[in-house]
Amino acid sequence: MTLSLLFEQLLNGLQLGTMLFLMASGLTLVFGVMGLINLAHGSFYMVGAFVTAWTAGTTGSFWVGLGAGILAAAAVGAVVELLVIRRLYHRQHLDQVLATFALILIFSEGTRWLFGSSPLWLNVPEALSGAVALPGGSRYPVFRLVIIAVGVLVAVALFLLISRTRLGMRIRAGESDREMIGALGIDIAKLYTLVFALGAALAGLAGSMIGALQSVQVGMGEPVLILAFVVIVIGGIGSIKGALIGSLLVGLVDTLGRVFLPSLFKLFMTPAEASGVGAALASMLIYVLMAIILAFKPKGLFAAND
């Protein structure tokens, strides 16, 4: 393992982490402000990817597709909030879990009904394809660097939004006291729709970009959703800072675990066995991480309201 390879793997972990942050920040915001567990968050990721792929395929431009994907995710988020989600704010977590589980089924099958069973085509835009040289000689895809940059931008923007703007003030007020912002004369219903759509848009953004790297297919949101939940639980639900730290932690642990565990086992096993055992443990690693963190910090690393 050379230093440059290690550096490259750290970048990979960082990239996975920033992508997770796009998902997790929306999820944690919605929980922090409205107290809602949204299992259907992965569906917005899928909507973003499908609309981007479809639009890009039709117009020939990734960028038009990206814009359409984000807008569509936000719009779908707003509609879902108006029709379904707002009936769930005062419900128990159990009802929220079931209702949003139902939404997953509806979105997955609805998407399949609209777009068919086959995965859609979506590629990295021409301008961002290719790879650049890294210090140490290896090469790294430009598009992944862009994802990291977008993740960092979104993180900064979110921090500014929450700490500097009126909307952010309302969001913070909502986190600390839901009754109070009602009393302040803020239209709480509108605020909730806005926050929910914002979260959906971020998920859509993640889906659009990742769709270009991976495959755009029904069900693509579910593995990401579970990872995003692991992230926000590790970070402390409701905390944007926690989501950021959690994302990076999960991204790095997952990537490095996949790389190093098999190598570790190769010290005392045959390569094939080591690869198998290492991969098995690597796939369990982030869940182990989460269990350990919660065992010692039952409300995550940065519990928002504690």
Binding site: H93, L94, V97, L98, I106, E109, A280, P298
Partner: protein, 348 residues
């Protein structure tokens, strides 16, 4: 049996008087559901329609898994999103045991030699013990958290076990493990569909009776209070944590036994029994039927399995409709099927 239907929780002579007609209505509904489950396969069997016997067996087993989860969610207020771990573990105990019995190899050769077996009584015992141990570990850690954290940490543990099963080659990994010959119950022919149904039905009735009795006991009173008002319980000098932990273990044991039966019904056990969709499905059944109602899981499982069977035959987009129905139940039919059939829940 009558005692069983008087209601498990608060609606006992010493507690809240509930208007009489409602008690009778729920009792009546409970009996009707149980009777339907018992009679339908018998009639089907007499008509030679084996398929419906197996369908009823499936309902009985799925109900039992949900009865276990209902103990945790409905009675204990512990929203476990990881009960597939116990369902699957129970299944794997049956599968692994049958595998070794078929191959005549030992399950364990160290520290003690343990041969495989196809004796259901032994398998059930081992399945229940394994689930109890696993639940003790998972519960001990998870119950330190609460709320969403509890939901997610139970999910995390189930995922760990899922990935372990997928990548563990000895017992088939993702391909799973077929059970070539259904495990045997001393003195009965388990290959006869009706006999196997009756075994499962008896196990279900036992699980229901135990749950009912349990919830009337001191332990049940403490568990109810842990759910309704943890502070009150602690102020009475009863620590909530051990009460919850024991309830979690019992819940896991019931779900695990259902898993063992499920594996034998299907003649197959695989990692899909451990997946998070499975946890979601059991939870859906509990909520569909009515959370915290003794017979909620039965009505939920009947509805769920029938929907799966009927809708699945009508359209390949049946999951879309399942989703819509679920959404409708959550938003507009609170209290689930039992709420519709027997009126509002007794508490909350």
């Amino acid at each position: 049996m009558t005692r069983l239907h008087k209601g498990a929780l608060d609606k006992t002579p010493g507690a809240t008087p509930v208007p009489m007609p409602r008690i009778q209505r729920e009792t009546w509904v409970n009996w009707a559901l149980l009777g339907l489950l018992l009679l339908a396969p018998m009639i089907a069997n007499a008509l030679g329609e084996v398929y419906y016997v197996n369908l009823a067996t499936r309902i009985a087993i799925v109900t039992m898994a949900a009865v276990g989860l209902n103990l945790a969610i409905g009675y204990g207020g512990m929203i476990s999103f990881g009960h597939a771990a116990f369902f699957g573990l129970g299944g794997y105990v049956a599968g692994i045991s049958a595998f070794h019995a078929f191959d005549m190899t030992p399950v364990l050769s160290w520290p003690i030699t343990m041969p495989g077996t196809d004796n259901l009584l032994v398998i059930w015992l081992v399945a229940m013990l394994s689930c109890a141990v696993l639940a003790l570990v998972i519960g001990a850690i998870s119950l330190r958290t609460s709320g969403v954290y509890f939901i997610m940490i139970t999910l995390a543990f189930a995922q760990m076990i899922y990935y372990f099963a997928v990548s563990w080659p000895t017992y088939g990994g993702e391909d799973g493990l077929p059970i070539y010959l259904r495990n045997q119950f001393p003195g009965l022919d388990t290959n006869d569909p009706l006999t196997f149904f009756l075994i499962c039905f008896a196990a279900l009735v036992l699980a229901l009776a135990i749950t009912a009795r349990l919830m009337q006991s001191r332990f049940g009173a403490a568990l109810t209070m842990a759910r309704l008002n943890e502070t009150r319980l602690a102020t009475a000098g009863i620590a909530p944590y051990p009460i919850r932990l024991v309830a979690f273990v019992i819940s896991a044991v019931i779900t695990g036994l259902a898993g063992a039966l499920f594996a034998d019904l299907n003649g197959f056990v695989g990692a899909s029994m451990l997946s998070w969709h499975r946890s979601g499905e059991i939870m859906v059944i509990v909520i569909l039927g009515g959370v915290g109602r003794l017979y909620g899981p039965l009505s939920g499982a009947m509805l769920f399995v029938l929907m799966e069977t009927l809708l699945g035959g009508l359209t390949e987009y049946w999951l879309l409709f399942l989703g819509l129905i679920l959404l409708f139940v959550v938003l507009f039919a609170r209290g689930g099927v039992m709420g519709l059939l027997a009126g509002r829940a007794r508490h909350e």
